[in-house]
Structure formats: structure tokens, C-alpha cells
Symmetry: C2
Subunit: 249 residues, 2 copies
Amino acid sequence: MTKNTKVNAAILIIGNEILSGRTQDTNTVTLATWLNSIGVKVNEVRVIPDVEKTIIDTLNVLRKENNYVFTTGGIGPTHDDITASSVSKAFNLKYEIHKEAFKILEEYYQPGEFNEGRQKMVWMPKNAELIINPTSGAPGFSVDNVFCLPGVPSILKSMLGGLKNKIVGGKPILSHTISLKTVESEIANSLTKVQDQNKDIEIGSYPFFHAGKLGVSIVIRSEDQIKIEICSNQILEFVKKKKIEIVDR
Amino acid sequence: MTKNTKVNAAILIIGNEILSGRTQDTNTVTLATWLNSIGVKVNEVRVIPDVEKTIIDTLNVLRKENNYVFTTGGIGPTHDDITASSVSKAFNLKYEIHKEAFKILEEYYQPGEFNEGRQKMVWMPKNAELIINPTSGAPGFSVDNVFCLPGVPSILKSMLGGLKNKIVGGKPILSHTISLKTVESEIANSLTKVQDQNKDIEIGSYPFFHAGKLGVSIVIRSEDQIKIEICSNQILEFVKKKKIEIVDR
């Protein structure tokens, strides 16, 4: 296992609809923002199709290289929902009816509504831990360090609260943004010098074109608030010298 | 090389800002939609940080497994723009000033404006082919089957036109959507039967909650219009039997 000392994760988006361009993925932003806030750094994101071998192979790489893996999609009732059976195979676990999940859905639906289609959603890897779904009943699940969530963004969001006690993060990653009325080439050299003096700080430079304004947002990220402030002051120093205007964004 | 008979591609999104959740990637939808329209199937998408070793290693995997690789991000003038130098290393090519790109930017900018920061954008792998940028001057480039595009969505979009003659696709992938006022569990079994009878057709089922409407979109995808129609008729047959309402979406 090649795990960093920091706590890290991979996000695995499962679904043909993202690869065809039909659906705009928004779960990455949701998960990444939440993970950063609890001190888990996202190392990589992969989007893969609803193909069993691909899911198994990718999962078996990612779960060894990261402290946590979060999958989205493929846990509904239709034929293209194959995440739970694929996870079972990746871990060499039996794919079976999860008794607790069965009880939850039996109570959730009106009598007679818990039909064969819906019952597919309680098939999971043996001994999976449930992730409660406050929106639409059908739970997600986790096996070891792999957490399987649904693809529908509103349902996924509602399930993160239930994950809090299961994910142990490091120090939260803090960030500070300075937005400037300038272009990147004006500040590139000065910014390189600041980065060279602060090698353990992540400094990103992002041009923006927004509501008629053109500018650059500099984003400083670190777990250490004091280091962010030192870095920020060095940036503000050259900004002042160059007489560049600071703007809101 | 494990290339399918079909023409396929990988998309490689390079940028810490996507992994931190700060920026919503929209380039995947843009590229995937365009690639599908010209008969190139997107096999996978990866999002990775601005880390040289990661870029090189990932690129060297993806370019062997796919007919084409499209990268976005990291070709601007600042210290965190390391895509061009990393691509050079991945291909063991010299990283040098591209004379044609230099000329383009020398003409693009006013006298005196083509400063050191901007000149960084003409450093590329030796003998790279340029991808013209009608929006903001600085070209993208390609080496072998790897096409490097910028991260800013509006600029990326404007550069796709110039790529048309460089990408040889297969048959365009067609799709047909049937949206129903139902829930997935109602149609799951019938849809599985249709999928079993049409194994070479991709059928996806996507629940939606939109403007107060709750329903399911069934998406049928294939290169063969007739096969799509046969499959569509089989779906409409069970929809009629079950008295499910067809809705617009």
C-alpha cells in the first residue's frame, strides 16, 4: 500500500451517462468539498462505464492506493445498476440479501409496494455496513474502505451526514483566495517566487471571466493557517508594488 | 496496445482546483458530447492534480489504452501550469520554444506585451502540432495521439473546431430517450428483458426529479439507428401494457 501520511481518498464515478456527456457530474464537487472540510485530500477522480470488469479492476487499484474510496452511481433497481454485485466480486464476498436493508425498505414502502425491482436494492456484499438514506429509503453501503453512494445528487448529499463518524480525516485543509484585476502573465514570475519560498503550500492561479470582469484568483491551500497568512502577505506585497487592484469574487 | 475495434478516447482533467471542489468541471461534458457526435466513445475520465509524476504516469497509461487522449488544463503562464513540460517528459521529447507558436503570440499581442510570462506558453514538446486558439491566442498542441487543451471552458470550446480534421472517428453514436412518468422499480424487470434481447445496445435508466416532475428517462444508445428503433418499440410495448404515461423531458 502506498498511502501518504496524510489522509486521502479517490472518487469513482460509475455511469455511462457521464461518459456520453448526457449528464453533468456534480457529485465530485459535493464529495470533494465535504472531504476537504474534514481533512481528507482527494487524490484522484475516475469516471468509468457500467462494465463489471472495469468496476472491479478500478476499485481494486483505488482501494489499495487510497485511505478511502467513494463510489457514486449504479445502486438502483435496474439492469444497469451493477455496483453492489461488482463490489462483492472485487472483495470476493458473497452477493446476498442484506437483512437490515430489507427491513428498512419493508418499513419504508406501503404494503405491496416493496416489489421485486425494489428488492434488488437490498442485495449487497456480505456483511456490508449500511449508509442510511434519509431521502428515498434505499441505503448505500460500505465494505472496508470503500463507500458506495447513489448517483442522484440530492440523495447523495443527504447521505453525507450519516458518514461523518465513519470517516477519520486529518487536519482540515484551509484555503484563502485573493482575486486580482490582472492577467496571469503579469503576475506569473512574482507568483513563482512566492511558491519557491513556500514549497509546502499549494498555490493555484485561475483566470476568470465573470460578469464582464476579467481577472485572476490566486488560491492558497494548506492545513496551516499561519503559513497561509505568511504566503498571502508575500503575494499582497508584490500586488501593491505592481499597483494591481484587488477585487471581490 | 489494447485498443477496441471502435474508436475510443480518454479525457484527462489536470488541476488541483477540481480535486479540491473549488471548480466544477464542465469540460468533460463538452468534450464527451463532441466526441460522441464524431463517433469517438469516451472510455474513461480521470482527474489528477498538478503533479509532474502523476501527469506523466497517467498519460503513459491512457495513451496506450486509447486511440486518443484529451487533456485539459495546465497550459497557461503560471508556475502551476506544467502540462506541456510533463507531456514532453512522457514522450521523451525536448521541451523547447515552438517557433510557430512564438510567431502567433508575437503577432497576437501589442508590441511590448509579449512578456516573459506569456512566452512560457510557447514552450512545448519538440515538433508538437499546434491547435489554434481563436479566443485568446495561446495555442494548444498535440503529440502523437495526445491533444492538450486549456482548462478555461469557453476557450476550450472555441478550439474544438480546429480539431475536426485531426480526429478520425467511427460511426457517430446515436441515442434516443424515452421519458416516463414512473419509478425505476416499476419498469426494472421489463427493461432487463429488453436489454437481454438487445445485448449490443446500451440501455440506461435514469431517474429524474425536475420542476416537480418525478420520472425515469430511458436512454438507448447505438451506432445503428434501426437497432435503436427496434429496441425503442419493445420498450414502448411494455409501457403501453403497463399504462405508463410518456412525458417530455
